[in-house]
Symmetry: C2
Subunit: 280 residues, 2 copies
């Protein structure tokens, strides 16, 4: 009886999702769409955003603090919804916790491998993600014959945050960043930063219709669904209904976060709580 | 005797200069040029950059940590070489320390007041600086008749960090950001972010030759020189010669910082030390 009860409690526990800021909301959005019964505790590290230009050591320290915070919220599984943190910290922190944890890199890489026909995959992301060559490592573990061409696009995140999504400036920046990988004749392109799905139409226009764009946010939601099933951790909707379904925490500027979140989520956030993440 | 020795020690102590990252190096550069006998301890908070989009509360906490670190380095005076931190934290932290401390806002504002003829001053900066209206407050304390028009330019910092200083994309972004304040017929424009002097020629081109650009970094170096003289704290070059003249500390990614610093300073940085600022 006790075990069954604990199991129910565990099943109705939330998923912890974290990112350096607002970008991971594209992952939260896919979880809401694809596993609608699951509760979510989202943490955006808005005080220390961006992660893309920071060192591995710093990103590992930040990820540990955030995981300690998420554990205080009783999460049953964690999604590292940030490509940089997935690249730098996932392997380290995986050894240190007992609940399932996944990043966005493996699911995105797996689908790109399945999609490519000419075995040439492009990856765009922050400087940190591209320099880490994490997608190359993961992809070549599956198929060493696949060539992976990475390109950092540091202006994409500030352009998205400025709201210039369909804009001649963004078109020109995209054209310049993507020129090099376009000439390499890739047939599949991974949107290796959680902000980039918001630039999907610009990127598709520049790359042309024959290039398949892979959105790791979507693939991660499907992988999470599978993982919860394997661990018998799915929320069946039979407990915890009194709790808030989606909760949002940030390390700074909660109002600004809420505004951005409400512009991209299929759901209106009512409150966002600010915490001091350095205390965890 | 003892007093005289202490005075010599204090005179040969370094100036502490801090910024959210590399931007404050434009202030360090002006100090090197204009007060060449002074030693400098520079701290760039590269782990938590940018400050421009963060809240006042967070910026005050960060500034306190950095000042505690600079005090461990025996600095005799501090320059807050960051417009956002000058706007949000200077008044708070001034009460808490005994050595002289100045920011970049007052010196820039003072010179702009002297320069304007039609009493219309523009201020460009980060979102935090513009939203704080700090330049407006300071300028209108001196002359309530001056109209101050602010405009946030969030893409300027990433464009500078990307190195696109003379570039059609930067021209187009500048044209779009500055259109509004240009139409207001200002005759003086404050470059209210330490990165912006690096875009000086682009901004001058867009605004036209009749608009006077004010670089607070330069004005701050002159004000510092004056302040040291008033407090009898000038380095006369008669002590401490064995110490390193210029020292650089960062909270992350020391190599990248060094590379940027060497591209803008009239001097080659040899080493940059990384510290964990959250411990202070």
């Amino acid at each position: 009886m006790e075990n069954k009860k604990n199991q129910v409690n565990q099943n109705s526990a939330p998923i912890g999702i974290f990112d350096s800021g607002v970008g991971g909301l594209t992952v939260a959005r896919e979880v809401m769409r694809n596993i609608p019964l699951e509760r979510i505790v989202y943490f955006g590290d808005t005080a220390r955003v961006p992660y893309g230009s920071k060192s591995k050591e710093t990103i590992v320290r930040y990820s540990r603090q955030i995981i300690r915070f998420l554990m205080t919220q009783g999460v049953k599984a964690i999604v590292v919804a940030c490509n940089t943190a997935s690249a730098f910290a996932l392997e380290e922190v995986k050894k240190e916790i007992e609940i399932p944890i996944i990043g966005v890199v493996q699911p995105g890489a797996k689908v790109a491998c399945a999609a490519t026909r000419n075995k040439k995959i492009g990856v765009i992301g922050t400087e940190g993600t591209v320099r880490s060559q994490i997608y190359t490592k993961v992809i070549q573990e599956w198929d060493p014959k696949i060539e992976v061409i990475g390109k950092a696009c540091p202006l994409f995140v500030p352009l998205v945050e400025e709201g210039w999504l369909k804009d001649p400036v963004t078109d020109e920046v995209a054209y310049r960043y993507l020129k090099e990988i376009k000439e390499k004749n890739i047939d599949t392109l991974i949107l290796g930063c959680t902000h980039y799905p918001l630039l999907r139409s610009t990127v598709q226009k520049v790359m042309g219709e024959n290039v398949t764009l892979v959105n790791p946010a979507y693939e991660t939601a499907l992988e999470l669904k599978n993982l919860l099933y394997q661990h018998k951790l799915e929320n069946r909707g039979d407990g915890g209904e009194k709790e808030l379904k989606y909760q949002f925490f940030v390390s700074d500027a909660a109002d600004k976060f809420k505004q951005f979140a409400n512009s991209i989520l299929p759901y209106d956030i009512e409150t966002t709580k600010q915490i001091n993440i350095e205390e965890f």
